[in-house]
């Protein structure tokens, strides 16, 4: 007989697993199954996985979609483009986010709450609207160009929109809070006494930062970087709205395959490869964070 304590433990552990199984693993398996099908015209627009043609059940699975992804360098370039843009965005978020997070932890208590609130304030508005707002700011006769022309700095509008710059700006702008918050968490948990001890032992402020603050905030750096890198790689709204004709990111390619070309199997294959490609660094980072926690 299962005792109540044991039962509640099973439920407690089982619930999150059931949730993940139902809403993450199961849909992922559907995507995987679609990625192994051929594209057809019909509803749904892909060939069935199992058929029963009288002489037993047959499985139809093809790796053709994955072969296509490897052969057509559009996809490879789109993956690399997404990775490049996302990696740059991560680095820039780190460069801007670290000083901001550090400054917030150094602010007196009553101001800290306000600053954190300001960091999270953009979330109160729809992501889509905020990205649209950048179009109004960046377009040739937009706010920024008008301001620059009015101030006499430039004579003709700068090409700020629909290029690599605007995509990168959009990524950094959108994902900066996801960098700042874990960094803040990790920096504010840092024992002030450790920095004092470093100073006491003769470390000047910069050496104390390099020797104590920075290494102890690495879990925050790792968490923030993952929170920026992973969604940024799959991002399609920002390249779609702010990107130009030469912006190649895998999220947008996936969107186009799915909605414009209505090629569900290829779109699914793109998604499967993306998930696999993201899962590997994620697992590595997880192990790193785990090790830091033990230490």
């Amino acid at each position: 007989m299962i005792g109540f304590g044991r039962l509640s433990r099973v439920v407690l552990i089982g619930l999150p697993f059931a949730w993940l199984g139902l809403f993450f693993l199961f849909p992922l398996l559907i995507v995987l199954r679609v990625s192994l099908a051929h594209s057809t015209i019909g509803i749904p627009p892909y060939t069935p996985f199992l058929t029963n043609s009288g002489e037993g059940i047959k499985i139809h699975a093809t790796l053709a979609n994955f072969v296509l992804l490897a052969r057509d360098d559009l996809y490879v370039r789109a993956y690399l483009g997404a990775l490049g843009n996302a990696a740059l965005a991560t680095v820039l978020c780190l460069v801007f986010g670290y000083p901001i997070a550090y400054a917030i932890t150094r602010t007196p208590g009553n101001w800290r709450g306000l600053l954190l609130f300001l960091v999270m304030l953009p979330f109160w508005t729809s992501f889509l609207i905020r990205v649209y707002a950048w179009i109004a700011i960046l377009k040739p006769n937009g706010l920024l160009n008008q301001l620059l022309i009015a101030s006499g700095l430039i004579a003709t509008p700068l090409p700020l929109l629909n290029n690599g710059f605007s995509v990168e700006l959009g990524l950094v702008y959108s994902y900066l809070p996801f960098m700042i918050l874990p960094l803040y968490g990790s920096l504010s948990a840092l024992d002030e006494r450790l920095i004092e001890a470093a100073a006491d032992l003769g470390a000047r402020p910069f050496r104390a930062f390099l020797g104590v603050t920075l290494p102890l905030s690495l879990p925050g750096v790792a968490a923030g970087s993952l929170l920026v890198l992973i969604p940024a790689i799959g991002e399609f709204v920002i390249p779609d709205l702010l990107g130009g004709p030469d912006t190649l990111m895998i999220g947008k390619v996936l969107w186009d395959e799915f909605f414009n070309n209505r090629d569900w199997p290829v779109a699914s294959a793109v998604a499967v490869v993306l998930v696999a490609a993201l899962a590997i660094p994620l697992l590595l980072a997880q192990r790193f964070l785990e090790r830091e926690r033990i230490a």
């Binding site: 450790l194 004092e196 100073a199 006491d200 032992l201 050496r207 230490a295």
Partner: protein, 355 residues
């Protein structure tokens, strides 16, 4: 020779005066204790010496050099933090070497010094361990080794034993004294534990509400407290408050609620009518079953507390005030609750306090 000199050091946090006009000198090679209740400003004073706080007024001189304006990293002092503040991402050897690495010292000399420090605190085999793999007592040793590694002129110890359990505390206290004598560095220990201060320090200062109340050797502080606060805070004490009168051919204290005035020490030189307090340590009290020839006051045994070798007998006298007497447990056995006894002492064992 004077090592540390504080000249009229004051510090306020908002409206709260944390340290009020403190002047103090500490000699080279001594173990000096700063004793006071929590919140008396002793830690703030220590942090000002380390350089973490800046005094509003006054000067801090180390070896004759004014360090008041120097940042912590430029001062020839090191601190052992109450929480130890060991770097969790470095092993024990890395922690000890941290201070040395800030100087231009070559690697071999750093390694040699780390080994020497590990041996000093009997942690030779623990160099590769991380702080979280150590027990509280081991962490305390590492913190001490790290703070001593740079051979500071003065080592500041903030409640060095507070985080240890009682038995370990007693052992570590002796070790700390041993290490201090071996390295010869002056130690400034901040503590709220009077037993710790009395047993460790060669000199100590008692602090209350930001002010130094009394400075002296442990025996001076204990035997000749200069104020009610010191008498009460350092050790246990019986206090009688009253007015000076003449009786028994000498000065005596007329205490409200007591039938007879209490004789005062013969050295007392205060005018009659002065309000004063007589402080009497519990171990100075003697108990009799019959009225003795000497001065004694009648009392009733209120309780007998057994503390191993000694027992504390609480006595109720006259108006209901309680006195404490410390008696050898063997002798305490013949006193039981409710028993009528006589409590007396030699008048010279008391201390007259006027503030």
């Amino acid at each position: 020779m004077t090592l540390l000199e504080l000249e009229g050091v004051s510090k306020r946090f908002g409206a709260v005066v944390a340290v009020d006009d403190v002047s103090l000198t500490i000699e080279r090679g001594t173990l000096f204790a700063l004793l006071g209740p929590s919140g008396c400003g002793k830690t703030t004073l220590l942090r000002m010496i380390a350089g973490f706080e800046t005094p509003e007024r006054g000067h801090i001189l180390i070896d004759g050099v004014d360090v008041t304006a120097l940042p912590p990293y430029a001062r020839p002092v090191n601190m052992m933090f109450q929480s130890y503040a060991l770097f969790p991402h470095m092993d024990v050897a890395g922690n000890i070497a941290f201070g040395l690495r800030q100087e231009r010292i070559d690697r071999r000399r750093i390694t040699a010094r780390v080994t020497e420090m590990l041996a000093l605190v009997q942690m030779a085999d623990y160099g590769q361990r991380r702080p979280h793999e150590l027990s509280g007592g081991q962490r305390q040793r590492v913190a001490l080794a790290r703070a001593l590694a740079k051979m500071p002129k003065l080592l500041l110890l903030d409640e060095p034993l507070a985080a240890l359990d009682r038995k370990l505390r007693a052992e570590t206290r002796l070790e700390l004294i041993g290490i201090q004598e071996r390295v010869g560095t002056a130690f400034l220990v901040v503590t709220h534990d009077q037993e710790e201060a009395l047993s460790m320090a060669s000199r100590l200062a008692v602090m209350n509400r930001g002010c130094l109340v009394q400075i002296g050797t442990p025996a001076e502080i204990y035997e000749q407290p200069n104020s009610r606060f010191v008498a009460d805070f350092v050790g246990e004490v019986n206090l009688f408050e009253g007015k000076l009168t003449a009786a028994f051919n000498c000065l005596a204290l007329d205490v409200a609620g007591l039938a007879r005035p209490i004789p005062l020490p013969s050295r007392t030189a205060l005018p009659q009518g002065t309000t004063a307090t007589l402080a009497l340590r519990p171990e100075k009290l003697r108990l009799w079953h019959e009225p003795p020839v000497e001065f004694a006051i009648p009392a009733t045994v209120a309780s007998v507390g057994y503390f191993g070798g000694v027992s504390i007998v609480q006595l109720m006298v006259g108006d209901g005030r309680l006195l404490k007497a410390r008696v050898a447990s063997a002798a305490a056995r013949c006193f039981t609750r409710g028993m009528a006894v006589w409590a007396g002492w030699s008048p010279d064992d008391g201390v007259v306090i006027t503030r």
